[in-house]
């Protein structure tokens, strides 16, 4: 089965090549996908650790089992809303 990986913000700047469709085994979860991406070395571990994951535009936990066609977005800490923090 295949899922589509999307990266945003600082993560895409450092790892744009990691975007796109990837083959997974049936039953693989979010954590499995991340482990394999981390193994390839394209995504800095510290950035991954601070990031959240969304599956089909909803935040998802690491244990979430992926399905064929899912869109998996890896989201570094967000910074919308202005400059007034």
């Amino acid at each position: 089965m295949r899922v589509r990986v999307r990266l945003f913000g600082p993560l895409r700047d450092v790892a744009a090549k990691a975007e796109g469709w990837r083959e997974l085994r049936e039953g693989d979860c979010v954590g499995d996908l991340l482990a394999s991406m981390r193994g390839e070395g394209g995504l800095p571990a510290e950035m991954l650790a601070a990031s959240a994951v969304a599956v089909n535009q909803e935040y998802a936990e690491r244990g979430r089992v992926l399905m064929d066609g899912d869109e998996v977005a890896i989201l570094p800490p967000v910074s919308g809303g202005g400059c007034e923090s």
């Binding site: 999307r6 945003f8 913000g9 600082p10 700047d13 979010v30 954590g31 991340l34 571990a45 991954l48 650790a49 601070a50 990031s51 959240a52 994951v53 969304a54 535009q57 909803e58 935040y59 936990e61 690491r62 977005a73 890896i74 989201l75 570094p76 800490p77 967000v78 910074s79 919308g80 809303g81 202005g82 400059c83 007034e84 923090s85």
Partner: protein, 147 residues
């Protein structure tokens, strides 16, 4: 409930005018502006990008949740994307309510929650280079992948 991502200037006056109806006694507005500096470094401009489909979904959920949670009548959330100059509005939140307490609390809750959960990112251009903002640590209910 008007929820939008836009690439042109946000017309605060039009949004304010639009949202009011006779039953409202109070409107609270939050206008987030591009500052001329970040921790003392002079900002030239900002670039905002979003995971647009998800950001819109999240913003819509925020507006709906604010209405239920605080009992306000209407909420508008508009965020701008692309390049913004100093002094321009990056986000405008407008809350209309019969009562002012609820209007203030809902408005504050929407901007606080948006800043932690809506997938939008800001790159700051300084005279000596551009950097992505650090961003807000995700709340615990949004489980980080490294945890």
């Amino acid at each position: 409930m008007r929820v939008e991502l836009v690439r042109e200037r946000i017309d605060s006056a039009a949004l304010l005018r639009e949202i009011k109806v006779g039953a409202d006694g109070a409107v609270c507005v939050f206008d987030g502006i591009v500052r001329d500096n970040t921790r003392g470094r002079r900002t030239l401009h900002l670039d905002y990008e979003a995971y647009e489909e998800m950001a819109l979904k999240q913003m819509r959920e925020l507006a709906e949740e604010a209405v239920v949670k605080f009992g306000v009548r209407d909420v508008a959330i508009v965020h701008r994307l692309g390049r913004l100059m100093v002094g321009e509005t990056s986000v405008l939140i407008v809350v209309a309510s019969a009562h002012r307490g609820a209007a203030f609390e809902a408005c504050r809750w929407v901007i606080d929650t948006l800043k932690k959960t809506v997938p939008i990112w800001k790159k700051e251009q300084f005279v000596d280079g551009a950097v992505w903002a650090d961003g807000e640590k995700f709340p615990e209910e949004i489980v980080g992948v490294g945890e």
